[in-house]
């Protein structure tokens, strides 16, 4: 009995202390887990359907927990003809860089609803051929051009990224573009900026519909447990 008591006492003494160290469940939380690369489907459709537009866009983002670094790159060309035989064309490249914040942090499928910002930049050339008759100054045939001029703007973005199947994702991005400023224009004012749109508006709405492939390079950290109601 003494021996049993002794063993019991010893067992009680060797019982490990309660774990007071908080387990770190979010270790390396902010390290990227994969890269998502996609393209704007609307741009591809417009290039095939519309006679006056040619362009494509590639989008990519990398996650840092709920924060995403986003980069876009694209080309864009437009051609217009008027009833008076005048014509306009532009051709250029653009890129955007920015960040998004995901507000669906507990979605099991890791779908994403985000709000973000972008800085956009374009380099482009445009040409305007004018056939005009002024009642005072008479007829004129003129060519105006801007060569390799640049423009920059800002965007507020929002949208969704939804996992469709394994590595395939789809998404929308709505863009509120503003703060357009161009440099290098001389005899001709820009009409259409690749990546931005028409220049006659102080702000401009844009929309992309995208398909992505996500390439993971490490396992995503587990979702935080649901908070227990006290």
């Amino acid at each position: 009995m003494i021996l049993t008591t002794a063993f019991t006492a010893a067992a009680q003494q060797t019982k490990p202390a309660a774990d007071t160290v908080k387990r770190d469940t979010v270790k390396n939380r902010y390290l990227p887990t994969g890269i998502r690369i996609g393209t704007d489907v609307l741009a591809l459709v417009k290039s095939n359907v519309q006679n006056d537009f040619q362009g494509w866009e590639v989008n990519a983002d990398v996650d840092f927990y709920r924060y995403f670094l986003a980069v876009d790159y694209g080309t864009w060309a437009r051609t217009y003809f008027t009833d008076t035989s005048a014509s306009y064309s532009n051709d250029g490249k653009y890129w955007r860089v920015g960040a998004d914040v995901n507000f669906l942090t507990k979605d099991v499928d890791r779908n994403m609803f985000f709000i973000g910002m972008r800085y956009g930049h374009a380099t482009f050339s445009e040409n305007l051929r004018v056939v005009d008759v002024d009642p005072v100054w008479g007829p004129a045939l003129r060519n105006y051009s801007n060569v390799d001029i640049t423009a920059r703007w800002y965007e507020l973005t929002t949208g969704l990224r939804v996992k469709i199947w394994q590595m395939i994702w789809m998404g929308y991005t709505a863009r509120f573009k503003f703060g357009l400023k161009s440099q290098g224009a001389s005899e001709m004012l820009p009409h259409d900026v690749p990546g931005y749109g028409r220049t006659d508006k102080e702000s401009y709405w844009g929309f992309n519909y995208q398909i992505f492939i996500r390439l993971p390079f490490r396992k995503m950290p587990p979702l935080p447990p649901p908070r227990r109601k006290k």
């Binding site: 217009y80 008027t82 305007l128 004018v130 709505a174 001709m188 004012l189 028409r198 709405w205 929309f207």
Partner: protein, 271 residues
């Protein structure tokens, strides 16, 4: 929930992405408004023109004698960066050289292009006394506003004579006049007379319709003075006095012994 949110945002974005097409009316801003002013008191000046034209066009904004204080719809040539206007007052032609930046811009397939003008300035070769740009951005057609103020230097040798009773004048002559001032129609209650700036006295003869004549001889001082830098040295006449020996009006009362621009009554004359 996610799907519904997605569709909602999709349709909102598509609706917001619809852009209005620009209107095609009055796209160019190639009109300038000018006013004529007196440098002496910065008030509007009434000028008589017989014609307004420009280099590079046969179009005439004015073809007959017109009194005006300004012109609201001079049209700049947006195919160039400058326009030279000619203002004709009888045989004298004044030139107004205007320089600006003209840029073309495509608007839409329906509207075509427009021209945006800016940085309006006055060029060398302008022959008006003084010109000031008060609005460097030309305006659109049917817009109001002044872009150019054209000033004339003060006239320093013209007096105003008021007649106590209206007088039936036929002509006024002086040996320094290039031609007689003739009158037809109603009796005159006042006249504006230029004095000889090269002398210190002027003798003026008034011929009435009944064949009688009266003579007014005025003495004054003339000095060269720079009233405004833009005008340079000018001969200024002052200290007007009536020579009572030669003058044969019943009475000549002095109202002002100095010359004003615009002229105010200097003498009240009783025939």
């Amino acid at each position: 929930m996610v799907k519904k949110t997605g569709w909602f945002i999709f349709f909102v974005a598509m609706a917001a992405a619809c852009l209005e097409e620009p209107e095609c009316f009055s796209l160019n801003n190639n009109f300038v408004g000018i006013v004529f002013k007196k440098m002496s008191n910065n008030t509007r000046d009434t000028v008589a023109f017989t014609g307004i034209g420009a280099d590079g066009t046969d179009y005439a904004w004015l073809t007959e004698l017109t009194y005006m204080t300004g012109y609201d719809t001079l049209r700049l040539n947006y195919f160039n960066d400058s326009t030279v206007f000619h203002f004709r007052i009888e045989d004298v032609v004044y030139e107004l050289h205007l320089n600006y930046t003209a840029q073309a811009q495509f608007v839409s397939e329906d509207c075509g292009q427009r021209y945006v003008l800016s940085n309006l300035s006055v060029g060398k070769g302008t022959t008006f006394d003084s010109v000031r740009v008060v609005g460097a951005v030309p305006k659109k057609k049917q817009s109001t506003g002044t872009n150019i103020e054209i000033y004339r230097c003060p006239i320093t040798n013209v007096i105003k004579l008021a007649f106590v009773s209206p007088v039936p004048l036929s002509q006024i002559t002086a040996d320094y006049f290039p031609a007689a001032m003739t009158f037809t129609g109603d009796d005159q209650s006042s006249v504006y007379i230029p004095l000889d700036p090269a002398a210190e006295t002027s003798t003026i003869t008034f011929d009435l319709t009944d064949g009688t004549s009266k003579t007014l001889k005025l003495d004054y001082t003339n000095e060269v003075d720079t009233l405004f830098n833009a005008c340079g040295p000018q001969v200024v006449l002052s200290d007007l006095k009536v020579d009572t020996v030669v003058t044969n009006f019943t009475n000549v009362a002095v109202a002002r012994a100095s010359i004003q621009d615009p002229p105010l009554t200097n003498f009240a004359i009783t025939f």
